[in-house]
Assembly symmetry: C2
Homo-oligomer: 563 residues x 2
């Protein structure tokens, strides 16, 4: 079916597009598309918390919008298998009244998660070129290239026109699996007329072209040539092209390959089973066998490129790994980008490795990493091919979305109808109807902190302890007050935590306790018998005292017991 | 005087060199050199805390080592005026029994700090070539190039031989002030024989040459040419070459220059007074006059390149600055490196600017910044010139020091006597005597958190609030127990803070309170009347309960009142 991009007024049902994540600093990806009584969701990502959320293991989007469409979520569509696109799937399933649609690899990566949550939703495998219908929507999948195989863009034909969601992509002209970005289909869609394109903005601030996954081969060949000891390559376990390059070089240089770290082991098995990773016979060994081979005969592919406290590389760095230990002459290659916020953790792991005498290679001294997201010129290319009526930059922080909008206007300024940019933030309801496209409403949006899984627990404990020590300012003054007389029972006690302490601290706290007692004595009986009032009085006076005496402003958390 | 690098055994006094900062993650610079009853300190830096130390304004080195040398600190020698080399000076003065030695600019930057602390130590201005004697030490200052003018390396002639401390440097072959790195003197010292060299390692992991400060001129010229609105350049106020480049372009393009932000105003005035910054008449305007000029006629040099919450740029970004506001068509240039840990804060400032429609330029899309520290080839060059007997990499994290050590061995491997590397960490006592140089002892070392100044207060408040909200796990169970009977008085209370809360939390806390009561009831009278024991019991049981019920492990901080 072909839908005009200028639908006749009246009668044609409205289409709402609601980004629920991926825009702004909340970097996980999820977008809902609703028409009449049907909603579909494209991607359901999760992200990992930073140090400022200790004890939190996972962040997923608030799904209140889906609650408001109860029973109407007829499909969950996945563009590819990266955590920030599939990590939230288990939390969406309870809302799902239909199937999960995705490529073989994406579904395989999801399968593990579903198992962990003992969920068994219906799944439908799609291929580039597949067309499926969900209520008023007809979906088509178009191959794009990225840092992992089997990635697609999603075309959603709606009563209002054609929507195109690019997913994550770069234009890799020499993909390792020989499956190129489908430029022709993008061109055809552009010719046919696209109502709105939702486009990855991650690397808009990088000029030129990102480059092919194949680009890192030379640097790794040089590393295999020049390394006398063990080679450990830390990368994302989903970066299957990277894994394939290492495996091939290992075969070529007669090294055994060991996959180290749970994610690396699981994903490499999945990828092999599905034919996305080819390991010549005799090349792969178990991580438990690494120690029985000479250092120069082994290369390890390990998790932990982000300095995650519990990942394989972090354990190896502090010589706390069951199977892999490193020494002088060995080499560790960081073959991944530093996710902002992880720089310090990564640096610490590097320092530990350096203490072992290990040589460290990063993309700052060798070309061992290439991004999976298209740079400015690739984004321009896709814009020129698709020429959508409405352009919605997604997947980036606001500054990047704004820059992408600027570029889009610039690229299409010469066209009879330059793109209209819709600058959306998470939760904005983009409505398409007879009057065209616009921000029409705001849906509930936010983040949900998932906690209590076993994942990264030790790391969180460490973080939490560090924070408890670092907080530098919790004082809990405790007083028991006779509910009738308002007279203090016993002596006020001050409990301090994370308070930068020296020999003077004990005296300070004792004096603080006297301040509390004095404060209460000076209150009226009415105040003294009103826990709310007395708490506030104590807080104010104690803060004043502490500021004056120490210059510090600890959090003061008075506890008043009525007995 | 010329001292042999192989001092005759016996009679010659020992020389101890003690790095007190600058090695490892503790990135402020300070080094003590002691011989007989004389100690000198080279540099006394400070660093700013990260989010994990809310309420802390400044971090300076622990000075216990100087306490142990009471009255013997005869000189404080400064290599240049950067915060991480002079920020701690006011805290060293009380230990100082002599003068501060530094170049005109370094001393001028220190003067402000001394004033703030109302300190008036003796100061001695030195120039490249100056020679001064302090007890058994004869010091000579050698010009080096860096990101600011008037920087020197320090030669310390000791009874054991010549020590060379490079300070921060790069080899800028085209310095803006025409004052080149004194390669000849370094060569002469190498010919004479240097016992030990202490060398900047900051950029050892960058290949090639860092490049001249002049390199950014083209990018800025392009920016002045193409910007229709206001230009705001955020950089370090001490980066005087950068400031000069902007001022000269402003004059050339008929824009007025405004210095915005306290540090920028103060430092530009100092630099002008000393002749390190030349501003043509009529070019400079007050920040308060920015608003009366058309946008296209103004360029602002602003503080805040690191996203500091209280700096000028952060206020401008949220349109909260008294004098400067930005709009569509204006441009903000980030002309500084991102100090690790600041990436997120900088990103947020950029997002705010983007919301104003401002175009953002960083060194990722234009060459608007060049580092002040020498890359691998420059460090090799200095090594080749000096060829010290002992090489001590300083000023870098461990992985960088280790890499620098590797490079040093490689560079000198062909020499009759390749360098001996001494890998030191802060507090290591490097002893030089008849037996040569070695790690001989460990001095007390650490960091002191300076707090309670007015600097960055709001920023800290914001941080602190965010942390209080984020902490996700403080539970304070409070019980009053009769000291005699061990019976609970009143009802146990649970106070929670930073606990990710939902509608179930109140019930949870109530139930937790019952758990506490039950725990106490089940204790023996002995336990119940022993605050230590009962606290631990409560902590264990409550943690168990909370973990089971919520999967979380909040910090449990029992308060037991005996009444």
């Amino acid at each position: 079916m072909s839908v005009s991009v200028h639908p006749p007024a009246g009668g044609v049902p409205t289409v709402d597009v609601v980004p629920l994540g991926g825009l702004g600093e909340f970097g996980l990806n999820m977008m809902a598309i609703s028409c009449e009584d049907t909603t579909i969701v494209i991607d359901a990502g999760a992200m990992f918390p930073e140090a400022d959320l200790p004890g939190v293991d996972l962040i997923v989007p608030d799904l209140a919008y889906l609650d408001s469409r109860k029973g109407q979520l007829k499909g969950l569509v996945l563009t590819h298998g990266h955590e920030d696109h599939i990590g939230g799937v288990p939390y969406v399933i309870p809302h799902l009244n239909g199937a999960i649609y995705g490529t073989a690899l994406a579904l395989a990566f999801v399968a593990n998660k579903l198992e962990e949550h003992s969920l068994e939703p219906q799944t439908v495998e799609v291929k580039p070129g597949s067309v499926i219908t969900i209520g008023p929507f007809t979906l088509e999948f178009v191959r794009v290239t990225h840092s992992m195989p089997d990635c697609v863009a999603v075309v959603v034909r709606t009563p209002q026109g054609v929507l195109l969601h690019t997913g994550d992509f770069k234009v890799d002209q020499t993909p390792l699996d020989g499956q190129p970005f489908d430029l022709h289909r993008f061109a055809q869609l552009g010719a046919e007329g696209v109502l709105a394109m939702f486009c990855d903005s991650t690397n808009i601030d990088r000029r030129g072209y990102t480059g092919s996954e194949a680009e890192v081969e030379d640097a790794f060949e040089e590393i295999f040539t020049s390394t006398e000891g063990k080679i450990v390559v830390a990368t994302f376990s989903s970066s299957l092209y990277r894994l394939q390059i290492i495996v091939d070089l290992a075969a070529q240089f007669d090294r055994k390959v060991a996959f180290v770290g749970r994610g690396m082991i699981e994903n490499s098995q999945i990828a092999q089973r599905l034919g996305f990773l080819h390991i010549p016979t005799g090349v792969a060994i178990k991580d438990s066998d690494v120690s029985i081979f000479p250092a120069q005969d082994v290369v390890c592919l390990a998790t932990g490129s982000q300095g995650e406290a519990n990942a394989a590389l972090s354990r190896i760095a502090i010589d706390d790994h069951r199977h892999v230990s490193l020494k002088d002459g060995d080499r560790v290659v960081f073959s991944a980008r530093k996710i902002p916020g992880n720089e310090k953790a990564i640096g610490r792991v590097m320092n530990h490795l350096a203490r072992r005498g290990v040589d460290i290679v990063t993309d700052s001294n060798k070309h061992v990493h290439v991004s999976g997201h298209g740079s400015e010129e690739e984004l321009k290319l896709v814009l020129s091919l698709v020429r959508p009526k409405y352009f919605v930059p997604v997947h980036g922080e606001y500054r990047q979305l704004a820059q992408h909008a600027r570029v889009a206007r610039f690229v299409t300024r010469g066209l009879p109808s330059p793109v209209e940019v819709l600058m959306a933030e998470n939760g904005d309801v983009l409505r398409f109807d007879a009057e065209g496209g616009r921000k029409a409403d705001k849906a509930p949006v936010g983040r949900v902190l998932i906690d209590g899984t076993r994942v990264g627990e030790v790391g969180d404990e460490v973080l939490r302890d560090r924070r408890h020590l670092a907080t530098d300012g919790l004082i809990v003054p405790v007083v028991a007050i006779n509910a009738q007389t308002g007279i203090i029972e016993g002596v006020p006690e001050l409990v301090a935590r994370g308070f930068v302490s020296d020999e003077g601290t004990a005296d300070l706290l004792a004096e603080g306790a006297r301040v509390v007692a004095k404060t209460i004595r000076e209150c009226s009986v009415e105040e003294r018998t009103d826990p709310g009032l007395i708490r506030e009085r104590i807080r104010v006076e104690l803060r004043k005292f502490l500021k004056k005496r120490t210059g510090r402003r600890p959090m003061v958390l008075p506890v008043v017991m009525e007995i």
